[in-house]
Subunit: 320 residues, 2 copies
Amino acid sequence: MSKPYVVGIDIGGTNTVFGIVDARGNVLASNSIKTAKHSAIEDYIDELYVELTRLIQTNGVVDKIHGIGIGAPNANYFTGMIDDCVNLPWPTPIPLADLVSEKFGIPVTITNDANAAAIGEMTYGVARGLRDFIMITLGTGVGSGIVINGQLVYGHDGFAGELGHVIMKRNNGRMCGCGRTGCLEAYCSATGVARTAREFLEIRTEPSLLRNIPLAEITSKDVYDAAVGGDKLAKDIFDYTGNILGEAFADFITFSSPEAIILFGGLAKSGELLLNPIKNSLDKNILSVFKGKTKILLSELKESDAAVLGASALGWEAKI
Amino acid sequence: MSKPYVVGIDIGGTNTVFGIVDARGNVLASNSIKTAKHSAIEDYIDELYVELTRLIQTNGVVDKIHGIGIGAPNANYFTGMIDDCVNLPWPTPIPLADLVSEKFGIPVTITNDANAAAIGEMTYGVARGLRDFIMITLGTGVGSGIVINGQLVYGHDGFAGELGHVIMKRNNGRMCGCGRTGCLEAYCSATGVARTAREFLEIRTEPSLLRNIPLAEITSKDVYDAAVGGDKLAKDIFDYTGNILGEAFADFITFSSPEAIILFGGLAKSGELLLNPIKNSLDKNILSVFKGKTKILLSELKESDAAVLGASALGWEAKI
C-alpha cells in the first residue's frame, strides 16, 4: 500500500486531539491543540495544519497519509458540514471537510464524536466482531453511535443516533439544552447527575457527604466520590440514574435488538455503581423476547484513543 | 431464469393468504385457507400443500418456483422458527421453515408479518427507492418493520423492530398483552383505540354517537364511523391516539432518522383523521435537527397484497 497511514482527529469543546494511525490501529504519534483558542475557524485550521504537519514530518510519513477522519460534535458524514453546534466557538455552518481537505491536500471524512467512538470501539475495542451494537456516550451530554449489520446508522440525512434526546419523562420533565423537556440527556449525562444531586439534596433531609460542597458546584465526580465513600444519598443518585438508563435501553432494544450496549465517557468510569442499577432496571423493563440477551459493557478504550482511532478508521473511507 | 417465480404466504390469525408472484411483482394467482381450522400444525401444512400445489399446477408453474417466502407473527428470519405466539392455534416452538420446505421440496425463508409488509412496501409500494424508512402496522396490535441502508433490521437475534412495545406511559400505563404496562400498542392499536373509547365514554358526560353501542362491543371501526359522522368525542379519540403516535415517532426518528414513516393496517385506513393529529404531535415533539424532514405516509398497497408480495420477495432470498 503506497499510503499506509491515516490521521484521526477528535475535535472536542476543549481539546483537539490528533494522531497518525497504521492499518492495525497502532497510534504512531499523537498531539493536541486547544480547540477554543481561535475565534476564526481559519486560524484554528492554520494551527492544526502547522502542528499536524510537524507530526507527519517528524514521523517520516509525508505523502503516506491515505486520508483524514474527523470526529466532531454535530458533524455530518454525508455533507461534510457542521450545521449547528453550541459546543464549538465558531459560527456555523462550517464546511469542515472541505476546509481541512483543501488545507492538507488529503481527502477528509467527518462524523460526529459519538459515531467516531462507535467506529473506534468496533475496530479496536470491546465491540470487535459485533455486527449489532449501540454505543452510548455519557459525558457532558448523552450521545450515541448505532451499528446495525456491521454498518454505522447515519439515517437519510446523516443525523441518526440522537438517543440522548428520546423522551423519558413526558410530564414535568426537566428542561433539556435542546429546548424540549424530559430528554434522557437531562437526567443521565454528567450534568444530569449533578442536577439530580441538587434535587435530592434540596428535597431530602438526611446527612450526606455532598452537603459539604456548595450546591451549585457539585459535579458528577463529587457524587461518584461520595458514593464510593459509602454515602447513601450519592448511591441513590446512581440508582436513580441507572434506573432511567435501563428504561431507555429497554426501548432501544425493541428497535434494533443489539448484541451489546456499550457505555463510554466520563460517567461510564463509575463502573458497577452505575452498571448494577442499569442491569436491574433493564431486566425489570425489558420485553420478554429480549430478556437476558443484550450485554451491557463498558468501553475498553481510553476516551481520547477511542475517538482518535474511530476518526482515523474513517480516514480509510476518504476519497477525493 | 429457470425458476422465474416465487410464492408468498401471509399467515394471519384468521386467514392464510398465498400467491404466485413473478420477478416484476405481478401476482399470477392467489388463494387462501383458514389458519385456525386445524389444531395440529401438520394438518394445516397438509391443507396448505394441497391448495398451493393446486394453484401451482393450474397456473403451469410446476418446477418453476425459486423459493417460498412466509410472513407470520413472531416468525424468526434467522432460525426459521416461531418460538412463541399467542395469535396462532398451534403449540410452539414451530420449525415453520423446515416443515414447509420439506413438504414442498422448495427452499423457504420466513419473517414476521410486519417485516414482510415493509419488504412489500419497499419492493412494490410507496417506499420504492427509500433506503431508510419505518413501517408501522396499526392492526390488532402495533407492529413494525425497520429498513436502514436499504436493509431490513433483524438485530442480532432476528427479533428487532418491536416498536409496538416502546413505553409511552411510564406511570399508571395501561396493561399490555406483553405483560408490561404503558406500551404504544396498548394505546394505538385498533384494540387500544377501542379501550380509549371506553375510557372516554366512562369519564366524560357529553353525548356521543358511540353511546348507542354497548360499551364492551365498541370497535375502532365504530369510532371511525362516529368521527366521520362529526362526533366530537370520537374525533377526540383520534386526536388522543395520533398525539401518542406522534410522540413515539419523534423518538423513533432520533434513532434512525428515516426518510419516511409509513402507516399500514386497519387503523391506517382512517386517513386524515389519524394523520393530522400525528403530524401535529410530531411537529410539536421532534428534536429541531429533524424538524420537517420525515414524511408520514399511508401504505399504497392493499393489506393482503403487501403481505403476500413482501413475503414473496423473501422467496428470492431462499436457499437450500
